[in-house]
Symmetry: C2
Subunit: 501 residues, 2 copies
């Protein structure tokens, strides 16, 4: 690590990583006819078999729109769904604290979000332990530090903070340490509204200005199959009402909570995502909402969830086909089932990332650091996954296109059997011609042995430590504390806000 430690862990080319567009055309795996059949079947399922919605307020909204409500089952006519599909915005800006952190959320954009929703954290120094405020803060700083991570995510749950105050801590950690768009869990109206108020204070905008722009996202997970629970339905309503972004994401594991066939799993995902999108649009026409999919398979012998599998890649591409059918920007997920930042973990996550690339995903969550199928946020895993993300960011850069890029002076003048180490084009471009690896060690075997024969998992420990040392608080965060602490203090004094069950 000595040589590596001498330079700052932050590639000089990183500024180009902030707003990415997909360089490749989205691909299909299923036939167009089959995707249309899945869409039709999902509409049929919502209309005829219905979806269970546990929140009375949400059922009331559906009823007012003409959906048939029978006890806690809601049967949503296809006209209602199609109107919601039509009214949802297909492109909007998700705003950071400064314009250069904004992300245009639309088809064609390539946005990476980190691992989120993990109860535990893992690193080589401290082992595996329950997520804490310390690791949440460190993970937030790491997410900030690398430009290829475009949004903040709720890494490992800060379990040492009581649930009624956890949203304060999570908002503080994000807003005091980064200018990137934050995330918050939808855990009931009280917490959601306080998070919005804290964010409006931090950004220095009025309620009206807050509502007119998209400042924050939350992931809405349905309880597959065909159930939306109370906090999730509440989240859809509250975020829509205040113009903030929900990402409606059924977590459809084929063979477990979804049918064993890929088409069946996609049908269920599509129906549930459309139900959430519809609730969003019925709450407020034009509310920002993302189509979402996180479908993979389980191992049928053990029931264990699998990620980065062929089925995961196929389902991700199918998700893209369904999203494009309805014209929506959409979110998918990478991630890993591995318990370590080893070859399995790298292969699974990189496969998932390429599935997202083939799909043309607007947003890929869990793109770095997701161990154990999401049960742990891995610090070494995060660093190793960044290498893949930075590779995608480089692929998204404009291609060489001019005559000068042919390097004719070198080609014409280097003798047969010679070399280009000191050719004129080399001299002009060597400083930043190529991507500089973050964790990959290109030394030959002898030099690598002399340096300790470390695996990339072992090297990553020094890298995340160095990145935390190199981390700098963005200037725009400097006065955030003075804006939000008074508010939070008062709320804490009042006992915080209970979470909804």
């Amino acid at each position: 690590m000595t040589r590596r430690a001498r330079r700052q862990i932050s590639p000089p080319r990183a500024l180009r990583y902030r707003q990415l567009r997909h360089p490749f055309a989205p691909q299909n795996y299923f036939s167009e006819d089959h995707i249309q059949a899945i869409h039709n079947q999902a509409l049929h399922l919502l209309e005829e078999k219905g979806i269970k919605i546990l929140l009375p307020e949400a059922r009331e909204i559906f009823a007012q729109a003409g959906a048939r409500v029978d006890d806690d089952m809601v049967f949503i006519g296809r006209d209602i769904v199609l109107a919601a599909i039509a009214s949802a915005p297909k492109s909007f800006a998700l705003k950071g604290a400064t314009a250069d952190r904004d992300q245009q959320y639309e088809l064609g954009a390539q946005i990476f979000g980190p691992a989120g929703g993990c109860p535990n954290a893992t690193d080589a120094l401290r082992g595996r332990r329950p997520g804490s405020s310390e690791t949440f803060l460190e993970a937030t700083k790491l997410q900030h530090h690398f430009d290829v991570i475009h949004l903040l995510g709720p890494s490992a749950e800060p379990q040492d903070i009581p649930t009624n105050e956890r949203h304060y801590f999570m908002m503080e950690a994000q807003l005091l340490h980064s200018d990137k768009p934050p995330s918050i869990y939808a855990r009931g109206r009280a917490q959601t509204m306080e998070a919005f108020e804290i964010l409006a204070l931090a950004r220095g905008v009025s309620d009206a200005e807050f509502k007119d722009n998209v400042w924050i996202k939350t992931v809405i997970n349905t309880n597959s199959p065909r159930l939306i629970d109370r906090p999730m339905a509440q989240g859809i309503i509250d975020f829509a009402r205040h113009g903030q972004m929900t990402i409606i994401t059924p977590f459809c594991l084929a063979g477990a909570m979804a049918p064993i066939t890929l088409s069946g799993a996609l049908t269920l995902q599509h129906a549930e995502s459309l139900a959430g999108i519809t609730l969003s649009q019925l709450t407020r026409t034009g509310a920002p909402v993302s189509y979402g999919g996180f479908a993979s398979n389980v191992n049928m012998k053990s029931g264990s969830p699998a990620f980065g599998t062929p089925e995961h890649v196929k389902l991700t591409i199918g998700t893209g086909q369904l999203a494009r059918l309805i014209g929506f920007p959409f979110r998918v997920a990478a991630g890993s089932a591995s318990n370590l930042a080893d070859a399995q973990g790298a292969n699974e996550n990189t496969m998932g990332l390429w599935g997202a690339a083939q799909a043309g995903a607007t947003l890929t969550l869990h793109s770095a650091g997701w161990l154990e199928g999401g049960l742990s946020f891995g610090f070494e895993k995060f660093i190793n996954d960044l290498e893949a993300l930075q590779t995608f960011a480089e692929l998204a850069q404009p291609a060489e296109e001019g005559a000068q890029d042919l390097a004719l002076a070198s080609l014409n003048n280097v003798a047969p059997g010679g070399h280009f180490f000191d050719a004129v084009d080399t001299m002009e471009r060597y400083a930043d011609a190529f991507y500089e690896p973050l964790v990959a060690d290109l030394d030959n075997f002898g030099a690598w042995c002399d340096n300790g024969a470390m695996s990339s998992m072992q090297r990553a420990t020094g890298i995340w430590q160095q990145a935390l040392r190199d981390y700098e608080t963005p200037e725009t965060c400097n006065d955030v504390a003075s804006r939000i602490e008074g508010y939070i203090e008062k709320r804490r004094a009042k006992g915080g806000a209970e979470i909804m069950n």
Copy 2:
């Protein structure tokens, strides 16, 4: 490893892995105009700046076709090159011992070859050591055992065999232990001709039948920049004359033996590959020859070759664009600079494989087991890389398309909030619904710890050992020894065949 060891290491779905077609459309990275400019510049380079060809016989062939020869420099007019491009076959069968091992070599095919050309071998039991006949044999058996490896490759060099007899050993090892198409190095006419004779005996075909079909391939590496050495030129001539396949592959490392720009490196690669293709076609019109590219970058600080980098992926896609421009099937490479089968190694190889997939490569060499930028054949690396290859093989399977795949019976009957573990579609399909991982461990953290908390690199050791135990000699190999051993014995008695320098 206990549970894993209980089942045979060979997925039951593997028979579907034998002949693959790319499931996705090839992608572009460079503009069509820029690719055309590279093509034009390569033609210009061959015509005006020439290429150094060390073998007099090859220069004579060029001269007879009207190329200008000045000492050992050959200046190839574009008409000669364009005629060669036109005359080369764009689709042909590369034949194994049995029809189900044949590979149609053409655009659209997706063929995987193993790591080749490594001087050393690495595994966890025996460490890193010079390649030997033992490891060559083991690697050949492993290459045979997994159906997703379509061609045999010269894994680690059997350095314990004298060079004048090494080709006998390599042919024996391949022909006695596998029915897949073999490889041989072009190390001069004497060795090449003996390899052909051994192969014709093994396949039981006459000289004429041998010549009329493609039974073996060799990789021709130019000595970039703009030089073809004696054994390589001899190989092009001898393989063409006998109807066998050369893969003309400049190894263009941008910033070292190729220009620092990607376009410059591709221009050089294209010129050199076209020169080799032209020599092949001038030797025998219609001889089977593949366009080849293996372009990546070096790290400009250390000069170390890098693989799986963004530049490698871009160059691979550019190679595909150039090959499609001239209508040729083509070969690229994956591989890894890592010294271990760790996350770096997995990420690099999987990135390279996806580069090949984006390019629509006919053949991807070094797709499994290539450590240290090719300086070692890794047994654990081979196993870990197979997981990625098998994922690609699964992606190449036909997509679900029928109404029955929607799993309507399950979707309609599983209650909201329920599960599909025992749904009717699950019961019908659970046995082979999903890809069964080779090395990935999907256990949760507790179970994984109970089993020894092994990384996928550690698990791979047991897997390659088990695969060697499970390996079965194909029936068609049984009488090969009786066909070839007499011939080889006589040749050995005569002192073998010297290699060409």
